[in-house]
Amino acid sequence: MKREIIMPKLGETMEEGYIVSWRKNEGDRVEKGEILFEVMSDKTNFEVESPYSGYLRKILYQAGDQPIPVTTVIAYITDTPDEPIEIEKTEEEKKEKIKEEFEVRVEEKEKEIKVEEKERIKISPLARKLAEEYNVDITKIKGSGPEGRIEKRDILEYLEKFKEEYEVLKWTPLRRIIAKRLTESKQNIPHYYFQGKIIVDNLLKIKENLEKEGAKYTITDFLIFLTSRVIEKFPLIGSSVINDEIRIYKNVDIGLAISVSDGLVVGSIKNANKKTIEEISEDRKNLVEKARDGKLTEDDIKGTNFVISNLGMYEIENFYPIINPPGVAIMGVGKIDKGVFVEDEKIVVRNYMYISFSFDHRVIDGVYAANFYKKLKEVIENPAILLFKNV
């Protein structure tokens, strides 16, 4: 039987030992407890006794300078002097591999060390955290702490400075609604626009004459009156898109954009096409008053698919309003101005106004809209036509 003699671990710190001398030669008879070899450990020299009786068959490591890891087999003892033994390889190969691995690791470590060092801005941990939270560029801040350290107060001061340039307005419920509705409108409705110049000399004359008789009406009143009568013949203009349906209404209600203190509301003039100018004017006045007192009823804001928005009194020439859903068209009215026109090869001066439209292309095509405009222009420029001709 072959028994292994190992380099014994002779202390907690001992990793390897040196064989100082073999006290027996290969082939010698050895008794258990007899001193077999001498080892030098990290601490001192030991005489190691043989743990077995037998013959020292083979010495794998001779005495010398070579360190031998603990538990390495260093010799074999056999029961008989001549039994065959297989000899294991030494540790050389393993060592070579470890050496290579070590060199690779050293290289990697050296790479890591070569990291650039930036110039350091002194800032307290709290200030740094705040700066990150509020997205503040700390290079733009001068610290007020010792040695220029940026502290919490510096960040807050910086933020305060920005605050002075504007005032944060709280969203009112109305503004939220406006914002939401108009954003949706602009995002969801494929708007297209056009505008036209309309001569209003005749209209102004009528307005003037009525005023002389004590009946005072606004341009808006006249436009509601006239437009409602044209829409009667172009019902798509007053239609709506609700739940993916195009709804065409029997009545012609006209929505009117009314500016109030915290925004804009739209009130309805019901059955405008059936009303006299006087009735329309009365309705409009009531509506505006109610709107400014915040007293519009649900009924008042129903029927506002087609909307007239008049900014003419604010000296606006021309603008394109956003469609008021679920409606599909809106009309913007600019100021009345004097302009030079060519009529019958003669240059004449007329009063005119810009009227612009935004249409929902899903419902109204360009030609339909153009025909509607053509008719509207006709009746506005010459309201008397309504007396004799059915639009």
Partner: protein, 324 residues
């Protein structure tokens, strides 16, 4: 409420716990007939006799070793080491045996043992009777370290320590024995490991313990008149440290001053400061400042002794410094 001294509060705690549990006994130098070097055990020998209040030879190592042997075999000893300066004489038993025995034995024993001692400067006693060595002790896992600042805390914490199944080193302060405070007649306990906010404030947090709590409160009073609002956190127990309470305060004030009587280098404040950095770094708006004992043996001269430990003025200065 009733006002009594720190000394009386401790005496009551011992008396009540001895009456409550007959396994509780006291041993130490000069604690029986003499009543203790600072009079904490006065009257207890007369009341409980030789078997429960035992005068020992001057053998600190044996006092702690013997207390340990008794603790793991069914008793609940309260040992007194007259001055914390003598703890070096029993550090082997405390560190190697008392603190480790339960762990080394895989949890198979409990060590219901209290070591009462006192420390601190202020009586012009020189280098062997004036030290603050708590930093040595908080470095020993396995024990608890308690340092009360008021009579109320002293009584409640000592009673909790005696009922604790872990070894507790209970460090009194020689300058506090005659201080007075409210202590209720009825029984109460103060839990070990829970800090106490002794004064609320919003500008700066002072973290402190033992006698320095009193100094810090005085400083806070002065600073308030200058418009500075100081919060004073009394740790009460150094091991285990209630860092949560400290962190909560730091999150509010963002600025910290640590006031400790022990030497600055390697001191308790270093541990407190580091724990704050580990747990509340992002809430600090200025470097933590320590007001600590000088790194010298405690000098005898009363003038030098005063200079060697923090005072109210230095605390005020540090608070202003941390607010700069």
């Amino acid at each position: 409420m009733r006002i009594i001294t720190y000394r009386q509060a401790l005496n009551e705690a011992l008396d009540e716990e001895m009456a409550r549990d007959e396994r509780v006994f006291l041993l130490g130098e000069d604690i029986a007939i003499y009543g203790g070097a600072y009079g904490v055990t006065a009257g207890l020998w007369q009341k409980y006799g030789d078997q429960r209040v035992i005068d020992t030879p001057i053998s600190e190592n044996a006092i702690v070793g013997v207390a340990l042997g008794a603790a793991i075999t069914g008793m609940r000893p309260v040992a007194e080491i007259m001055y914390i300066d003598f703890i070096g004489l029993c550090m082997d038993q405390l560190n190697n045996q008392v603190a480790k025995i339960r762990y080394m034995f895989g949890g198979k024993c409990t060590v219901p043992l209290v070591i009462r001692t006192e420390g601190g400067a202020g009586r012009s006693l020189g280098a062997h009777h004036s030290q603050s060595l708590e930093a040595w002790l908080i470095h020993i896992p396995g024990i608890k370290v308690v340092m009360p600042s008021t009579p109320y805390d002293a009584k409640g914490l000592l009673k909790s320590a005696i009922r604790d199944d872990n070894p507790v080193v209970f460090i009194e302060h020689k300058m506090l024995y005659n201080t007075k405070g409210e202590v209720p007649e009825e029984e109460y306990l103060v839990p070990i490991g829970v800090a106490d906010i002794k004064r609320e404030g919003k500008d700066v947090t002072i973290v402190t313990y033992s006698r320095m709590v009193l100094f810090s409160l005085e400083a806070a009073e002065i600073l308030e008149k200058e418009g500075i609002s100081v919060e004073v956190v009394d740790l009460r127990t150094l091991l285990p440290m209630d860092i949560e309470t400290v962190v909560k305060s730091v999150k509010k004030t963002n600025r910290v001053v640590i006031v400790e009587e022990d030497c600055k280098t390697g001191g308790t404040g270093a541990e407190i400061g580091m724990q704050i950095i580990e747990n509340a770094f992002d809430y600090l708006d200025a470097p933590i400042i320590r007001v600590a004992g000088a790194d010298v043996p405690m000098p005898k001269s009363p003038v030098l002794e005063k200079l060697a430990i923090p005072d109210v003025e230095r605390i005020c200065k540090a608070v202003k410094e941390v607010l700069k």
